[in-house]
Symmetry: C2
Subunit: 381 residues, 2 copies
């Protein structure tokens, strides 16, 4: 017997380059908004915390939370690369589902711009990264192979950036809030061939939060039911395989999440997915079942995934335009879907959104299928 | 309806200064021993992983585990300062208890000696640490206050080190394997008055692992039942209070764990506790209820906590002598209690050990009650 779960409330800081704000300061903004949004009397109502961060100092969540009164309760800090925030969300949901807690804070925290000079420096043990084989190169290699296999065009890749920048103009919390054209995207500085600057997400500073509890509807009509969430880790890569783009882990995780929710991809009205690079969104929309393998370029070109189209992807602007503060990203995706399903997304509202999906990919390298992937389905059945 | 849980098997690497071994290499030793000890057919039998590390690179658990065949399953990496390993154990137990998984790997990984020069460097955001107010100073200040309040003597503090070094001589995996005298302890180099070198644990490189599943006994007599585990985080410190030694968080966490297990401290035959510094074990034995507040110095002096005494504490040698590779410590404590309860502890075996307790304290500072504390009760009822 498991408890049905719901998101009671969400909150985020602004996203962007804001090195003057400390991790606790960003956290307070996100958590206090989420507490208020959930209708809790205060921080002392929280039973437990799952916090996602990648580069946060040890104890960052405890220090940030103590001064707003979240003390004594279990605080579990989770690292799962770019999927740290959604992994925290997943564990928080499972904890509520098991009946262990009633009001759990899922939190993501990341401060990057004071530490990194424009891009993430390779980690200590990453000899390949030190030689330049960092995330942009990995995605660039995947893009090159993908172009070879399926004939996606540079213009189609650029259109992901154009779409997500356009969406972000409606998002007052986004890091980048201006439109770009295909020509501008392709003419921007080359980062890792074929990926130009505007096809790469930017590092950022932010926090994002969600309060998860047992489903209270219909007495709490603003609660957003969590219909499922799934977490998978990567697999060893068969060197004889040409599949270097992480399609499998997303497809397998999505299949689990769809099955648990009792839906298929055509039932989903709005998606927030891991567009760390334009090629990432193309591959991910395929793996999530919005189109066939190799069809992701044509999908974005058709307008299917734009606001106004049948299945908008990244109405928030996505990682490409909201910015990508690693641990905070997953909870920002959750917050966006919650706002969309409540009809509170303002200028970027997707009409009649009833079911939403969040997908986050953590890590990724040529040799592996990523550190982990989380897919969650939210909305009323 | 919850599932009763048990530790099916444990494993550890050697503990010590071994910078030539990578985190994956240390992990393989610990995990493959645990898999073998649990009687699993292989790594592919594992359903999920909770891995504790503090300074491990992002994705360290995934990289270490992929090459021994632990892929695709959920891998959740947890940071909770020195309690990271036992927090991973606690979350793994709760996941099995909820019925979500059947064979969960709880893992601790830490490589420190190649990164730090003798002691942990203060983290980036720790302005007090940068001024010298690091862990030894924090414990030194606590010790000074404790001496003032309760009259514990330098000799009593030194006796903790003497006892744990003596215990470690029976532990072939320990970092420090030689006896020391009270005179040697007190004459060793001063680190943070009144704590001398031999009263401080050393950094180390190691991994440790446990396989947790539903209780299978009596058909599997080597399974060690987990009777309870509890996790609490710290509280804000009242500046008017003179209680600077972290007694409260240990006592509150232990009270929860004892209550869930239906036991009291006098029912426990053997303890593994967080003796990062000698004063830590003294305060912790009090908070765990082995003696009254202020009686910890006399307790160690009486021989009560020595192997051969009524309630041995740290038969493994503890952090002081086994070494303290942060994320690995908690699982090494679990492994020691499992070996003790099975009667497999060799030269350091505690006679007729039936119930064992593990306690780990994470973090700690003058302003807070620590990042977190975990207490677990193992053994047959």
């Amino acid at each position: 017997m498991t408890t049905e779960t719901a998101v009671w409330g969400v909150g985020t800081s602004l996203f962007g380059k804001q090195p003057q704000l400390s991790a606790p300061e960003l956290t307070w903004v996100a958590v206090l908004e989420a507490i208020d949004d959930a209708g809790l009397a205060g921080a002392s109502a929280i039973d437990a915390v799952y916090a996602g961060t990648v580069f946060g100092d040890p104890g960052v969540a405890q220090r940030a939370l103590q001064s707003i009164g979240v003390t004594s309760v279990p605080i579990i800090t989770i690292e799962n690369a770019c999927a740290s925030g959604t992994t925290a969300f997943h564990e928080a949901r499972l904890a509520v589902e098991s009946g262990r807690y009633e009001r759990v804070l899922a939190l993501g925290i990341e401060t990057m711009t004071a530490v990194f000079d424009g891009a993430i420096a390779p980690i200590r043990s990453d000899a390949e990264g030190a030689q330049g084989f960092a995330m942009p190169s990995i995605y660039g290699m995947s893009a090159t192979r993908y172009v070879h296999e399926f004939g996606v065009t540079s213009e189609q890749m650029a259109l992901v950036s154009v779409k997500n920048h356009r969406h972000a103009v409606g998002n007052p919390r986004a890091q980048h809030s201006r439109t770009v054209t295909v020509e501008q995207v392709l003419a921007s500085r080359m980062i890792a061939d074929p990926l130009t600057l505007y096809q790469c997400c930017s590092i950022a500073d932010a926090a994002a939060a969600a309060i998860i509890g047992p489903r209270r509807s219909p007495s709490h009509p603003r609660d957003v039911p969590i219909r499922s969430s799934a977490l998978r880790s990567g697999k060893l890569w068969d060197q004889r395989s040409s599949k270097v783009w992480g399609w499998d882990i997303v497809a397998e995780t999505a299949a689990l999440a769809y099955e648990q929710a009792g839906i298929g991809p055509s039932d989903v009205d709005v998606f927030e997915v891991h567009d760390a690079f334009t090629i990432g969104e193309i591959v991910t929309t395929e793996a999530l079942g919005l189109c066939e393998l190799g069809g992701g370029g044509r999908l974005v070109e058709s307008g299917h995934t734009s606001i106004g189209g049948p299945q908008p992807v990244n109405p928030s602007g996505g990682l490409l335009s909201r910015g990508h503060p690693l641990g905070a990203t997953g909870l920002a995706q959750i917050a966006e879907i919650v706002w969309q399903l409540r009809g509170e997304a303002g200028a970027r509202q997707v009409d009649d959104a009833r079911v939403g999906v969040v997908e986050t990919m953590g890590g990724g390298a040529a040799g592996v299928d990523g550190n982990g992937c989380v897919v969650a389905v939210l909305g009323r059945s």
